[in-house]
């Protein structure tokens, strides 16, 4: 639970920094989405069965939905995309990636 609260604050600050500060810094005309980058990283590096990555996906997507200014997008679009991304990463890691274990 403590981890989730820390994650919530971290993602909130990250989305504010992205929408406020980094809105002035396009990279070749594009704006990197730090929330998605963070969600992907946390899901790759945690154990596939852990739930923190799923929480990060939901919270990150939810904050993106709140702070993105788009009239034609369904509210919840980013949350669903983010959750779908998390599920895909977890599925690939579980099914196709086998991390080396210690030999006895």
């Amino acid at each position: 639970m403590r981890k989730v609260i820390i994650l919530l604050f971290f993602l909130y600050i990250l989305v504010l920094v992205q929408a406020g500060f980094f809105a002035h810094f396009p990279i070749f005309g594009f704006f990197p989405n730090f929330i998605f980058i963070f969600v992907i990283i946390i899901n790759i590096f945690e154990k596939p069965k852990d739930k923190l990555g799923l929480c990060a996906g939901f919270l990150g997507g939810f904050f993106l939905d709140i702070f993105s200014l788009s009239n034609n997008l369904f509210f919840g679009f980013y949350t669903l995309i983010s959750l779908f991304l998390v599920i895909c990463i977890k599925f690939i890691l579980m099914r196709y990636v086998q991390l080396p274990t210690e030999s006895r």
């Binding site: 809105a23 788009s70 959750l83 099914r95």
Partner: protein, 308 residues
Amino acid sequence: MRSYMNPAKRDGIKKRTQFSLHSKLKLGVIFLGILAFFVILNITNFSKPIKNFFYLISSPVEQMLFRKGSGASNFFEGIFRSGKLMEENKNLRFENQELLSRISALNEAEKENETLRDVLNLGMKNDFELLFAQIVSKDIARDSLLIDKGLKDEIKKGFPVITGQKVLLGRIGEVYDNFSEVILVSNKESSFDAKISKLDVKEVEDINIFSTLRSTRVKEVYGVVKGGGGLKIYLDLIPREDKILKDDIITTAALGGIFPQGLLVGRVKDIKISDLDPFQKAEITPAFSLQDLDKIFIIKNFKLVAGQ
């Protein structure tokens, strides 16, 4: 085929690699629950108060970050563009001189206009009812801004938004209690009538500027300004017989009734003529710069044609 793997280890891998029916069902139910939650939020429009609440609690921090970002961006831009600045400075000086000479001519015309107005008893009235607003954040990827005025300030959807220099920025999109979204003219949803006003070139020659302004006929070329996304704007549906040039100035027209007449939109950057298309198309350089933008004005009430 014989397997050499330890059965316990093999079972472990099997467990890891296969979703059980129970976990699949659980995941599906959670996903459907979230989907239903968002569908309800969208149908009931409850997403608006949620967004407004988050904007309200975050706006002080977001505004601070926005200003810092703007400062940092200007600083880095200065470093990276130092090579071009000399040339730009030279061009701007030249343009400044040209504009000064035009201003002096326009001042004379303005004096004359005032006299004429007095004679005709028209009077000079304020054309707009303006409301000052501050930008909270930008979403350039979607050509939108968030400003600190909302329903509580009697802001309504569709109100035009301009800069202090009467440059058109866009119109109000979604309105929350304390905040509003501004759909920039470069947004793909944006479309309105505009015109290019220019003096007849033949008449300008060999006459001094003052007498030209009184005697020349202003030729107007109409078209439709459409947002292209990514801060790009196009002037479309220009009849092929109308001649437009690079750097021609585009202003809003009263035709559509969306914006008041005479707001500056931008300059013609590039003209595209296709043999297959009955109309010309031009790319426009927007007159506003989002980098330097901080304070803006919302037009709450306007007359389509100034002075009416």
